[in-house]
């Protein structure tokens, strides 16, 4: 994942990536199963192009989450279409996502108290 149009220090860039990408993917497959390109596209769209996910970094992460049992992938075939691999959130993934959200909320609340940053 990359932060587009931002001169972010590299360390912060890595920290933000590490802490947030997992949560972003889990959150996007929370409502319904999605395939990899859809996930990447949604991240870019919903962040107004600030966040971008390319295939080379997205799929290793998807496979890692699948290996950890947080998401589950399955091939779906539809008439006159190439089959696609969709990922859905597992029960363990739901727990982790809940934990991620709580942590990030606390983090932003702390930032807000100190520096007056309102994530909303």
């Amino acid at each position: 994942m990359a932060l587009k149009h931002m001169r972010t220090p590299s360390i912060l860039d890595r920290e933000v990536k590490r802490g947030s990408t997992e949560m972003l993917i889990l959150a996007l497959v929370e409502d319904r199963p999605r395939h990899g390109y859809e996930i990447a596209k949604l991240i870019e769209q919903r962040s107004d192009g600030v966040l971008q996910f390319h295939a080379a970094s997205l799929y290793p992460l998807l496979y890692r989450l699948e290996k950890r049992g947080l998401i589950q992938g399955h091939w779906v075939e539809r008439p006159s279409q190439r089959r696609r691999r969709f990922y859905k959130l597992t029960k363990a993934g739901q727990e982790i996502l809940k934990e991620h959200r709580r942590t990030w909320k606390e983090f932003f609340a702390a930032l807000d108290r100190v520096a007056g940053i309102n994530p909303a």
Binding site: G36, Y37, H54, A55, A56, S57, Y59, P60, R64
Partner: protein
């Protein structure tokens, strides 16, 4: 149209992926790149630019490094008709597990076989442990290899006396040129009066140099000095570890205390180490032998003599030296010493001569017991192998090698012998413990009796014996059990793996387990 798959395959070629897994990743990623390419075209990019941008985005990250830790290493596919590993140990663990299951499925038979093996191995281990100690390692003296016993022999009758006269001993001691130490021992009993009730103790008078010759030092206090042998000085005694513990409560301040022995006062000067037992196992004390200058009898044989030849002096040279003296004594005292010679024998050999004679007979006896046990067990295992002949035939028909099936049968007998060996070791341990507890009147005259136990050689012996027993018991069943006529056996009716498989097929298909793929 751009060949995304080729690009992805080239990138993935660095990873040892399973073919199926690689195909999945290629399919998924190529679809992603195609979607991205089409999006870029929609956004207004020219075809070439869209391709270049898609590829540059795909190449910019270290995907291979990320995937390397995630994906399982791919091993070579199993070639049908061949074992994936040809080593002899391949599948050994499965064989052992199968053997355990077989044993548990028939506990009665297993128990009978293990107990039979345990008895056979236990008797052999007991015999090995005791005889190995009694016949070859009865002592632990530092100078053991050089120590000899010296006795007298009548030339005409070849009658060998174990004991020596005081007169002859005195002359040997004075005139010999080959011994560092020549020591006389006189065993005796002592009335011990310090306790509330008088007690009789066995002990030994020993001449100067006794402890020096054996190379053993006191654990507490000292042994004898040159002064101690003078009769005019205070009489001294050295105690055995056992006496010190049982009669004096292992008192560390015991040295210097007095005890009354045979109505005379002796000063305790030392306590010997726990494992020091000589000349008899249950000797409880040692007192300096003060030769009475008036006692030069050449008729009364009551001294036992041991010697420590000087370094470099052979047994023959030591014997020749003492016989030279004996010849001069023959002419000097013809009435008593006519035809009297000296014989010098290694101490260990002399002390164990009785046991050594019995060793082969005793070992043959117990080995026969084990062989009979093995024959019975082999018979039981053969019957079992015959009952499984149909199963064996099916395995052979499916492609298992005869060696592989034989190994499984061997694993069965080896597991049995392993348990049998363990049981035998326990039996030997308690058997030897019981032997050591035999009455002292019997055991005290057998050097090494109190040392008997299960030590490293005994453990090694049991291990080897257990393996050999397992091989011996499993050999015939494995050989005969796998000599089957496949057609003949498979045509016969009877319970077998096949019938079990058939019954399972009637119940329904096995549950699908994706992990098994």
């Amino acid at each position: 149209m751009q060949d995304w798959e080729k690009e992805i395959r080239e990138a993935l070629s660095q990873l040892p992926l399973r073919p199926l897994r690689e195909a999945e990743i290629v399919e998924e990623l190529s679809q992603h790149l195609e979607d991205r390419y089409e999006d870029l075209l929609v956004q207004g990019y020219a075809e070439d630019e869209a391709v270049q941008k898609t590829l540059s985005e795909f190449r910019q990250n270290e995907m291979i490094r990320d995937l390397r830790g995630l994906e399982h290493a791919f091993s070579e596919p199993v070639e049908l008709g061949q074992e994936p590993r040809s080593s002899l140990t391949a599948g050994l663990w499965e064989d052992l597990r199968y053997a355990f299951r077989m044993l548990l499925s028939q506990p009665g038979m297993t128990l009978v076989v293990i107990v039979t093996m345990g008895l056979g191995i236990g008797v052999n281990t007991t015999m090995f442990s005791s005889l190995e100690m009694l016949a070859f390692r009865p002592f632990d003296f530092p100078n053991q290899e050089r120590l000899v016993t010296v006795g007298e022999r009548q030339r005409e009758t070849s009658f060998a006396r174990g004991s020596v006269t005081p007169g002859d001993f005195a002359d040997w001691q004075k005139q010999n040129q080959t011994f560092e130490e020549l020591v006389a021992i006189k065993s005796s009993y002592f009335d011990f009066s310090n306790a509330s009730q008088p007690e009789r103790l066995s002990g030994n008078f020993v001449s100067a140099g006794f402890f020096t010759a054996l190379g053993t030092h006191a654990a507490l206090g000292r042994t004898f000095t040159a002064e101690d042998k003078k009769i005019s000085t205070n009489q001294v005694v050295v105690l055995s570890d056992g006496l010190w513990r049982t009669r004096f409560g292992a008192d560390p301040q015991i040295v210097g205390r007095s005890v009354k022995l045979n109505e005379e006062i002796y000063t305790i000067v030392g306590v010997m180490p726990k494992n020091f037992h000589y000349p008899v196992d249950e000797g409880q004390l040692w007192i300096p032998l003060s030769p009475d200058s008036s006692d030069r009898s050449r008729r009364d044989h009551y001294l036992r003599v041991i010697g420590l030849p000087r370094r470099g002096v052979s047994l023959t040279q030591a014997g020749e030296d003492l016989n030279r003296i004996a010849v001069s004594l023959q002419s000097e005292y013809p009435d008593t010493n006519r035809g009297r010679e000296v014989r010098v024998v290694p101490l260990v050999k002399d002390a164990t001569r009785g046991v050594r004679v019995a060793v082969p007979f005793m070992f043959i006896s117990v080995l026969l017991v084990l062989l009979v046990a093995c024959a019975n067990i082999a018979n039981i295992l053969l019957v079992r192998a015959a009952a499984r002949q149909r199963d064996i035939a099916i395995r052979l028909a499916l492609g298992a090698s005869r060696l592989r099936v034989m190994r499984q049968l061997f694993a069965h007998s080896l597991v049995l012998s392993g348990f049998g060996g363990f049981l035998g070791l326990l039996m030997a341990y308690f058997g030897i413990k019981a032997m050591r507890g035999m009455p002292q009147d019997f055991s005290m005259f057998i050097p090494g009796w109190t040392k008997m136990g299960i030590d490293q050689p005994a453990l090694a012996f049991t291990l080897v014996l257990s393996v050999l027993t397992g091989i011996l018991c499993g050999l015939i069943p494995a050989w005969l059990g796998t000599r089957v006529e496949l057609n003949q056996v498979l045509k016969n009716d009877g319970p077998s793996i096949l019938s079990v498989v058939q019954r399972r097929a009637d119940i329904g298909p096995p549950e699908y387990d994706p992990k098994s793929l």
